[in-house]
Structures are given as structure tokens and as C-alpha cells.
């Protein structure tokens, strides 16, 4: 079996360094085996199991109450929060809601599949009973009069919204440093960024401050922080999940995505929030990914959950996996590259047929993305004028009201993107920028289509590096933007992508997680989840529980 590793297929050989370094995920991560962990697995290297399913079973079998669970999570949340700062707001109603679930169970009433599951919600997703600031001063203390459709669905399935997680202002950033309120730390190394813009949601799941969380992904904002924080992140197909209630950054790229500590949890959360919504004209009428219900709470794909034995039976036999050549070329951290290539080998062990795929337009994605996203954001953010809601500057005349409210309300990254977008849409520049970027977008969509006609899934690293230091790229926006190279193309093409941890690189006290990105055809999340689940369950020697939990934060 290891032979495939050490003698990779000829086509892939160019990716491997001459001296085969040991694969990081075969190296046992530096974690103390005595650490208390949330998923009470028999050994420290056993694959992650679905927290949602185990909570559901424990509740129904009366092993534990929702209140007890909520208390455990809340106390862990509060202990970790001073270091992490994942949350902008923590709900006051968690215990009350947990109690009402317990009451339901006591009365033998049906409870939803997310009963007792604490869900973190990125603060650019509207919640009726909590502030929703999008990380911006301009919306400080703003409380929406409605729940986002995704939040509404979480609540309908009896999930408990534990709080609002930190983000880069309006989702614009890759580090969560451009939040107007606080900087979130990476649970694997609190001197490092958790990634962004959904850094709060990723860090919260990583540090088990909540079970799962909602994020949003416009150019990689779910996948990159998932990679940095060692959790599973899913960016659904554009249109799979309603955007109603998601505070818009770039409407044609924005999607609400999911974080979990296992593929199964991520898939269950996606099932809960997906589906057509009459309030979002761009939401798809495609059927839901996976049916979940109380009676049949196990999603289809988890039935294939058989651990190591699976490895022998080559469960992914015949699955055609394309490795995107351009994502493993220059500019990618060598540790990340070898870890991902290790994952490639692992997929091959599982029976996948691997080939190299070239997406010639790949490098065009980054400039096209920044033009389109900035253009749309310059328009989407016009509504923050201080007239109807949000912070209003005291001003003598109308122009001053607009100018001062926006000058004081927006941070510098947001202002920069509004300026770029306004420029790109201006008369005389539209054709050279916006229109051209749209043409690139079409090219990218076509090249993905071709690649996915020939392959079941495509893979790449989720980010060119592991988590970097807080402040490292703060004054170098181009360096930060280039970190999005792995993810933005997927948004431009509107495709689903799953990021899951596949190993470690050196860095921080115990190493830093590296995420593998799997890209599927539109509305093919089911396949991604299935492959991801098998990959995760068969990955040997890795446990993605950060030291912050390991180091004595009690359960």
C-alpha cells in the first residue's frame, strides 16, 4: 500500500520532491494522548464521528439532557473565548432553548435532527433576536427584524443558535483581522490567524465552542478558515442554500456554507439549510442533498461508515479524481504541497483513479474575482448611508451625512474594495474591467465543466499555506489576496467544494492543519460528502483537535 505513496503514478511524479519527505499525516501529530476530547473516541487517532448523530442518540436515550450539553459547550465557550474571540455575541437564550428541547423529550414529542445541537452563526447572517453586524461599525447594534432562511431552518430542526461569530468586515478579508470589533485567534496557535472571512465560525467549531457553524463563502471564506483551523468546511453550489438574510458582499458569488468537526456533521447541517426559497430568486429548485428526518436521522452516506476495513475494499474504486496542476505549482508552500500529495496517495489507496488536470484559466481567476466581487460590493454596500438604520453621523447637510456615516462606519479594507468596485463600474472602465472579468468567469466555468466531465471530483489544496501569524499580511493586501488563489475560481464557477483536514505542517506548538479541497460538479454535494467521509474515516494517524482544547480546557 505504501508503495503507491513512494512510487506515485508517473503523471503525478512532478509534484513530488526528489527526496520523499515523510507524509505529515503519517506523522502522529504532537498531541498528548491523555487530553480530554469532545468526541469520546476510544483512541486518539480514531476517525471523527458525527457529533450531531451522537447528540441525537444521547438525547433520545436519555443519557444526557440538552441542558447539560448546552452547559458543557457554554462553559467551554466562555473559557476559550478570552483567547480566541470567536464570538461577537453570545445568545442569552441557549439554556432556555435547551430546556424546551428537554421538555419536548420528556413529553415524548418528536424533536428535530438538530435538537440540542449548538450552532454558531457568522455575524453577516441575520438573526432576529441577536445583533447582526457583519463585523462592521456601520451596523453596530443593528438587530434585523427577521431570521435568515438558513437560520430559520436551523431553528425549525431544533438547532440552538449559540451566538454570532466574528468575521472580516462584510466578509472582506482572509484573516478575520479586518473585523471592526476584535481579532480572532487560531485554536491551533493563538498567535496565528484563523483564516477568513468566516474565521470565527471555523475557530469556534475547531475549539468545540459549538458543534457546527454557519459561514459564508464568497471567495473561499469557508474553505480557507476550515483549512487553517483543521475543521471540515463545505461551500455548497451557488443556489443550493438560500441567501435570504445573508448580508450581501458579492451577490453572484456569496453562498452560505457549513463547518463541522466531521464530514457527516457538515453534511447534516447542509441538508438542514438547503433547498429552494421563494425569498431568494437565485436559489435553486434542485432537490435537497440528503434527506434527514427524525425517524431516519442517518444520512444515506453514513451508512457506508465502516472504518479501516473500507480501506481494504477500495471503496472509491473507479472514482475519477483530477488533481488541478495549477494549484500545486509555484507559490504553494512545500509542506502544504506534500501533505496534499499525501492525500492524493490516500485517495489512490481507496481505489480512486487519479489524473492531472490543467485549468489554463486558473490564474485569471484571482483578478477576475477581485474585480467582480469589488464591483458588486460597491453596489451592495450603498445601502449603508446612515439614513434608515445603522450608525448615522451627525451632519449639517446630506452629503456630509452620507460621507461621514460611511467614513466612520466602514473599515479600510471595505473602503478599498468599494473604491475598486466603483472604479471598475465607472463609465469608460466598465468594458475593460467588469465586462472582461465576466468573460474570464465564463472561461473558468467552461474549463471546470470540461474537467468535471472527465472527472468525478477535482482536488487541490484549500490554501497555498497553513495559518500564518496575526499581522503578517495585514499591510500587504496583495499577499493576502493571493492566498485566495485556490478558492476563488470555485466561486466564479458556482461549484460545490468540500475542504477537510488531511494532515499537518510544522508550525505552532503542535503543528498546523492543512486542508484538502475537493471540487464537484454543480449540485453534486452528495458525492463530495461521500468521498470526504470515506477519506476522513480512513485517514490514519491524524486527529484534528487543537491544543487549546487539549490544554486543559475542561469538557
Amino acid at each position: 500500500m505504501l508503495s503507491t505513496l513512494h512510487h506515485p503514478p508517473r503523471r503525478l511524479s512532478r509534484f513530488f520532491p526528489a527526496n520523499n519527505k515523510p507524509r505529515h499525516f503519517h506523522t502522529k501529530p504532537v498531541l498528548s494522548s491523555s487530553q480530554p476530547v469532545t468526541d469520546q473516541s476510544p483512541s486518539s487517532t480514531s476517525p471523527p464521528e458525527s457529533q450531531i448523530l451522537s447528540i441525537h442518540h444521547s438525547l433520545l436515550s436519555r443519557e444526557v439532557t440538552a441542558t447539560q450539553l448546552a452547559e458543557t459547550y457554554l462553559s467551554r465557550l466562555k473559557l476559550a473565548e478570552p483567547q480566541l474571540k470567536s464570538f461577537i455575541h453570545v445568545s442569552n437564550n441557549v439554556l432556555k432553548e435547551a430546556q424546551s428541547i428537554d421538555d419536548k423529550i420528556k413529553r415524548n414529542e418528536n424533536v428535530g435532527p438538530l435538537a440540542g445541537v449548538l450552532v454558531g452563526v457568522k455575524d453577516n447572517i441575520c438573526t432576529v433576536d441577536m445583533p447582526s453586524t457583519a463585523g462592521s461599525r456601520v451596523l453596530e447594534n443593528y438587530r434585523p427584524p427577521f431570521d435568515a432562511t438558513a437560520v430559520k431552518k436551523v431553528k425549525e430542526f431544533d438547532g440552538i443558535v449559540v451566538g454570532k461569530t466574528n468575521l472580516d468586515e462584510f466578509g472582506m478579508g482572509s484573516t478575520t483581522e479586518s473585523s471592526s470589533f476584535q481579532v480572532t485567534a487560531n485554536p491551533w496557535d493563538i498567535s496565528r490567524v484563523p483564516g477568513g472571512s468566516s474565521g470565527g465560525s471555523a475557530a469556534a467549531v475547531s475549539a468545540r465552542q459549538c458543534v457546527v457553524s454557519l459561514g459564508s463563502d464568497t471567495g473561499g471564506s469557508v474553505r480557507q478558515p476550515a483549512s487553517f483551523c483543521g475543521v471540515v468546511g463545505l461551500k455548497p453550489t451557488y443556489g443550493r442554500v438560500s441567501r435570504y438574510g445573508l448580508i450581501a458582499y458579492a451577490s453572484s458569488l456569496d453562498v452560505i456554507g457549513c463547518f463541522g468537526s466531521s464530514v457527516a456533521d457538515t453534511g447534516i447541517l447542509l441538508s438542514a439549510i438547503s433547498g429552494h426559497d421563494r425569498l431568494d430568486a437565485t436559489s435553486s429548485k434542485q432537490v435537497r442533498v440528503l434527506q434527514i428526518s427524525v425517524s431516519q436521522e442517518v444520512p444515506d452516506f453514513t451508512s457506508q461508515l465502516i472504518s479501516a476495513a473500507l480501506l481494504e475494499s477500495k471503496p472509491l474504486k473507479g472514482l475519477k479524481v483530477g488533481v488541478i496542476r495549477e494549484t500545486l505549482e509555484n507559490g504553494v508552500d512545500s509542506g502544504v504541497k506534500s501533505t496534499v500529495l499525501g492525500a492524493v496517495s490516500h485517495l489512490e489507496e481507496l481505489g480512486c483513479t487519479l489524473s492531472e488536470v490543467s485549468l489554463p484559466s486558473f490564474s485569471l481567476g484571482l483578478p477576475a474575482y477581485y474585480i467582480l466581487a469589488s464591483s458588486e460590493s460597491s453596489s451592495n454596500l450603498s445601502r449603508y448611508d446612515g439614513v434608515r438604520y445603522g450608525n448615522q453621523a451627525a451632519a449639517e447637510d446630506l452629503n456630509a451625512l452620507y460621507g461621514d456615516s460611511r467614513a466612520k462606519g466602514f473599515g479600510s479594507e471595505v473602503k478599498m474594495r468599494i473604491l475598486m468596485g466603483t472604479y471598475a463600474l465607472s463609465a469608460g472602465y466598465y468594458d475593460a474591467y467588469y465586462k472582461r472579468a465576466q468573460q474570464v468567469r465564463t472561461l473558468i466555468q467552461k474549463s471546470f465543466k470540461t474537467a468535471l466531465d472527465e472527472n468525478d471530483i477535482l482536488i487541490s489544496p484549500a490554501a497555498p499555506s497553513a495559518a500564518y501569524k496575526i499581522g503578517e499580511k495585514k499591510n500587504d493586501p496583495l499577499a493576502m489576496y493571493s492566498g485566495d488563489i485556490m478558492t476563488v475560481n470555485v466561486n466564479l464557477a458556482g461549484l460545490p467544494a468540500l475542504v477537510l483536514p488531511c494532515g499537518f505542517v510544522e508550525g505552532g506548538p503542535v503543528g498546523l492543519p492543512v486542508g484538502l479541497q475537493m471540487i464537484g460538479a454543480a449540485f453534486d454535494e452528495g458525492k463530495l460528502l461521500k468521498v470526504g467521509h470515506i477519506f476522513e474515516q480512513t485517514l490514519q494517524g491524524c486527529r484534528f483537535v487543537p491544543p487549546l482544547i487539549a490544554d486543559g480546557i475542561p469538557q
Binding site: F146, Y244, I247, A250, A281, S378, R383, E396, L401, A427
Partner: protein, 581 residues
């Protein structure tokens, strides 16, 4: 020459007698009523009549000046019209829109532009756009889209207006207009450049009192409030080709557009409520010059007559500047029509072209039409005003009649229903344009509100024609309509028409109820009785003293206790008197 004179004179009548809106009296039987009573069946009674009020009277000196203007300069006029659609809900959310509702009572997260809210197209908006596009003989875009037009204004909640930019839903059509007979008549065809869908903005209110929808500067912004009830209400913007040459043509174009949207049922077309808003662009150039002059936009035109007068004022203003060699003082600007002073005044000068940074609205999918959908709408279109006028014309009605009857969809329907029941076309037209219209005017009713049905009018006309009841009753008494209420109860011959209009019922029912003797044999008996009782007078009559006819009629009427149908009575009486016995 006549029409030319009319044009120039009425064009500037406001300069001469701004307060007089003279009612024409050209001697036509129904003219006086018609000229002031054209909105009969509209829902909104404050609506000004679509007929353009102006005085053809003029001051000779002025006339000569204006005469000269129009000889030397040619005006180029184009109109942008915003029609507010009468859909049940707004364009992109489910809020209803009710004109005059308390401020901000018909709003939701979507039309308020709250963070996270998304627009969803009301399919009725597309349907209405297709209807109007087809009715304007346009080419439809089977694959169009929405765009964002971006600018900051307090009444624009999202900071952009959802509109259509480079691919409007309909393009390249035309609108046929018949000019009023009293201004020389004539048929015009005005080009339609485009029709596109968009949403309305809210309104700015003064904190103290009334609304203020015009552009203003904000020295004290806190004196202003925003009402977002209207934000998101669907509009169709109709852009005409610059085909109009006079204020009258422009006003008639707008009036025809109003008729069209009312016929189609896509809008109430009410200008007072702002359901139909016209912005006109006016430029003039010396006759013979091919280059257009600088165009000036005029806003705040809330009646057809103000369109007419504002344009003619503007033409005169620009011509004066030209003639004084100050053509460079005509600048591209937006001017406001001031009803009080009957002038246009500068509202804002345009500093270059505003950059609205249009781009495709990413929150909405493209608007895809298919042939079946368009065909089904095409086949459901009602008979449009132009077709109706041509049909009425072919029926032999005068243009005066045609324009009156086709002006209002409900009147036209009533007329069509009446003749559908077999009534004589000319008689039906006369009745409707005469007594019925007068009654509606006096009682401030629409034709749908009066109790008379088209079927009963047809019956009435048939009865008169068949002499069941006197045409004279029908006709002569009808002229007493002004005071008919008092007259009604005292007259021995009930005024059937007015009873029908006021109370409803059927012609035969009223005849019966009033016990009118309509049976010829019964009347014959009475005549015979009178003859036998008055042999001397009969002798005299037959001897040539025909004046005695009245005596006999009176006697018969006396015997019948006033219930004999006088028409029938006279007919029988005459036959008998003149019969060789």
C-alpha cells in the same frame, strides 16, 4: 391655415389669459358637454380630462409673434413616461401599495433595503410589460435582464434602483394618435424607443406638512422625512422617439398612452396620484438645420394641459433666446413647470452625464420569455383605442363622436354593448354623448355607476324607434334633464331614461308601472270616442282648420287621464283625422 392658427394660438393662450380655460361653444349639439366631460368612467374623479384644455382665443399681436416662431424654428419633443402598474403587490416584494396610506405602513425588509433582504420579481410586472410592449407595437426582448442604476438619495433605500439598462423588455414600437377635431384633427404616429421595467423610489416628506417629491438641497436635513410606501412599486418607463413638434401633440401622445394603459388594465393612469408621470425633453432648431439644439428636460407636469402649456412656454422661451442671439444661454438642464406662474424655471443644471454605474442585477435571474407566453398575452389583448376608433369610424360615426366614445374604455364598452343589443349606432352615440354624459357629469358618476344598463338603453332606443313610446318624450324631455328631479314626479310622462339611470329597472317595467297606454287599439277607441263627442270640430278640421289637431289630442289625453303615449296618440289621431270617412 386654420389648424396652424389653432396650434399657435392655443399653444400660448396661457400667456394671454392664464386663468381662463374657456369652454368652447361651437354649436354642435353635444359639444359643450363633451369638452369638459371626458373622464367619465375613470375611478379617480380628480383626474383631469385627457382632452387638452386650452383656449383657441388669442391676442392678434401675440399670435403674429408665435406665428413667426413656428415659421422660423422647429421644436423637437420627446417624452419619458413612467407608468405605475396596478399590480396587487410591489415589484420585488409582497407589500401592497395603496395611494394615500399613512407613511411607511406598506413596507417590509425588502422594499426598505434592509441588510440581507433580496428582491424577487413579481411575475405580473413582466406580464404587464409584455402587454404594453405588444400594445405599443414593439419588438420584445425574449431574453432581457434587470440592472442596477446606482445613485445616492434618501428616498432610494438600497442606494440603487432596480431597472433595465441595455436590454429593455420592449423596443422599437409606435403609438397612433388622433388629434382633436377642434384643433384641426389629423392622425399622427409617434415612435416608441423603448419600454423597460423598474421600481419606484420612496417620497421625501417635509417634517411639518406636505410631501415634497422634487429634488432639493438640504440645508437642514432633519426637517425631512422619508416615506417608503412607494419604494419598490413597479413602473414601466416608456421612452418616445423625439417625434412631437408641439405641446398639443405631446399632450395628446400622453393622453393616448393613458388611454392605452387603462384599456390594457395595467395602470389607473392617474396623473394626480403620480401613476402616470411625464418628463419631456424640448429643444428647438432653426427650420432647415439638421443638428439638434440643446435639449432641456421639464419635470413636474401633472396634467395634460400642463404638458401642453409647459412645452409651448419652453419653445417660446428658447425661441426668444435664439432670436436675441443668446442661443448659448440654452443649456442642458432640468426645468420645473410652475403651475402658479405658468413658467418653467431652472431646477438643476446638469454637469456632464451622471454616471449611474449600471451593471446586471446579480440578485435576479434573467427575464426569459417564451413564444407561447407572449402569444397567449397577444391573444388576450383587448381591442385597443386605435382599433376602436378605426372601427367606429367605419361604422359611420363622425370623428368627434369617435374620439368621444373611444376616449374612455368604460364608455366605449357601454356603447359597444348597446349597439351589440341591436341599437342604432348613431342614436346610441347621441344618447350616450348627450343625456347620459350630462347626467354623469351632474351627478359626478361614472358610466359604470349609473343604473342604466346597455341592454335597457338599447331597448329604450328600440322602443322610441318603434314608437312604443314617444321619441319626443325621449328627446325633448331629456333636455329638461337639468331640473329633472323636480320635473320627474310631476310629469305625466315619466322620463324613462332618467328613471333608468337613477333607479335602474327595465324599459317595459317602467312603461307598465306608469301604466302608459301603448296599445294602439285602445288609443283608437279613445280617438273614436272623441270624434263622436265632437262632430263639429271634426267637421271644421276636415274643412281645413288643421290647428284643431291639438284640441283633439288634448281631448284624447284627457280621456286617457294623461296616460296615452303621445307619439302613438298623434300618429293614430292624424291617421284618423285625415282618413276619408
Amino acid at each position: 391655415m386654420a389648424s396652424f392658427l389653432f396650434r399657435t394660438i392655443q399653444s400660448h393662450s396661457f400667456l394671454l389669459c392664464p386663468t381662463t380655460l374657456l369652454r368652447r361653444n361651437n354649436g354642435a349639439v353635444y359639444c359643450s358637454m363633451k369638452s369638459t366631460h371626458t373622464q367619465t368612467a375613470t375611478q379617480e374623479k380628480q383626474q383631469p380630462p385627457p382632452k387638452i384644455k386650452s383656449s383657441p382665443q388669442g391676442n392678434q399681436a401675440k399670435t403674429r409673434t408665435l406665428d413667426r416662431i413656428s415659421k422660423e424654428y422647429e421644436a423637437i419633443i420627446g417624452i419619458e413616461t413612467h407608468v405605475q402598474l396596478s399590480t396587487l403587490t410591489k415589484a420585488f416584494c409582497t407589500c401592497p401599495y395603496n395611494y394615500g396610506a399613512q407613511p411607511n405602513t406598506s413596507v417590509c425588509p425588502i422594499c426598505m433595503g434592509l441588510p440581507g433582504a433580496l428582491p424577487v420579481v413579481n411575475s405580473k410586472v413582466v406580464e404587464f410589460a409584455v402587454k404594453l410592449g405588444l400594445a405599443l407595437n414593439c419588438k420584445l426582448s425574449f431574453n432581457s435582464k434587470f440592472d442596477r442604476k446606482q445613485y445616492f438619495y434618501p428616498d432610494l433605500p438600497k442606494g440603487y434602483q432596480i431597472s433595465q439598462f441595455d436590454i429593455p423588455i420592449a423596443t422599437g414600437g409606435y403609438l397612433d394618435v388622433d388629434l382633436p377635431v377642434e384643433y384641426g384633427g389629423g392622425h399622427r404616429r409617434f415612435g416608441i424607443t423603448r419600454v423597460h421595467m423598474e421600481e419606484d423610489a420612496g417620497k421625501l416628506l417635509h417634517a411639518d406638512d406636505g410631501e415634497y417629491s422634487q429634488e432639493i438641497t438640504f440645508p437642514i436635513i432633519y426637517a425631512l422625512q422619508v416615506d417608503l410606501n412607494r419604494a419598490g412599486v413597479p413602473l414601466l418607463e416608456i421612452v418616445s422617439e423625439p417625434d412631437m413638434r408641439t405641446g398639443l401633440e405631446a399632450a395628446e401622445y400622453a393622453a393616448e398612452l393613458q388611454r392605452l394603459v387603462r384599456y390594457l388594465g395595467v395602470s389607473n393612469g392617474n396623473m394626480q396620484e403620480g401613476s402616470l408621470r411625464c418628463d419631456v425633453n424640448v429643444s428647438i432648431r432653426p427650420v432647415g438645420q439638421s443638428k439638434f439644439g440643446t435639449k432641456v428636460e421639464i419635470k413636474n407636469l401633472n396634467s395634460f394641459s400642463s404638458i401642453n402649456r409647459a412645452i409651448d412656454f419652453e419653445i417660446a422661451r428658447q425661441a426668444l433666446l435664439y432670436s436675441q442671439g443668446k442661443a448659448d444661454q440654452i443649456v442642458q438642464e432640468t426645468r420645473l413647470w410652475e403651475e402658479g406662474s405658468q413658467k418653467t424655471v431652472t431646477m438643476r443644471k446638469k454637469e456632464g452625464l451622471a454616471d449611474y454605474r449600471y451593471f446586471p442585477e446579480p440578485d435576479l435571474p434573467e427575464v426569459i420569455l417564451n413564444k407561447e407566453y407572449v402569444d397567449s398575452i397577444q391573444s388576450s389583448l383587448p381591442e385597443l383605442p386605435e382599433m376602436k376608433r378605426r372601427r367606429y369610424e367605419e361604422m359611420g360615426l363622425s370623428m368627434q363622436d369617435v374620439l368621444f366614445l373611444a376616449n374612455d374604455i368604460n364608455v366605449a364598452r357601454f356603447f359597444d354593448a348597446t349597439i351589440g343589443k341591436g341599437a342604432d349606432v348613431k342614436l346610441a352615440a347621441n344618447w350616450i354623448m348627450g343625456d347620459i354624459a350630462a347626467h354623469m357629469k351632474n351627478e359626478k358618476l361614472t358610466i359604470n355607476e349609473i343604473k342604466l344598463s346597455a341592454a335597457e338603453l338599447a331597448e329604450l332606443i328600440a322602443s322610441i324607434k318603434g314608437a312604443t313610446i314617444s321619441g319626443k318624450i325621449g328627446k325633448e324631455l331629456s333636455h329638461l334633464c337639468e331640473s329633472f328631479t323636480g320635473y320627474f314626479s310631476s310629469t305625466p310622462f315619466p322620463h324613462i331614461l332618467f328613471e333608468l339611470m337613477a333607479k335602474g329597472g327595465t324599459v317595459n317595467g317602467i312603461i307598465k308601472e306608469k301604466d302608459l297606454i301603448v296599445d294602439p287599439s285602445e288609443i283608437e277607441k279613445m280617438v273614436d270616442k272623441v270624434f263622436s263627442e265632437n262632430p263639429k270640430q271634426l267637421e271644421q278640421y276636415r274643412g281645413g282648420k288643421t290647428k284643431l289637431q291639438g284640441f283633439f289630442a288634448g281631448q284624447v289625453m284627457k280621456i286617457s287621464k294623461g296616460k296615452a303615449n303621445p307619439g302613438l296618440l298623434n300618429k293614430i289621431l292624424l291617421e284618423k283625422l285625415n282618413a276619408k270617412s
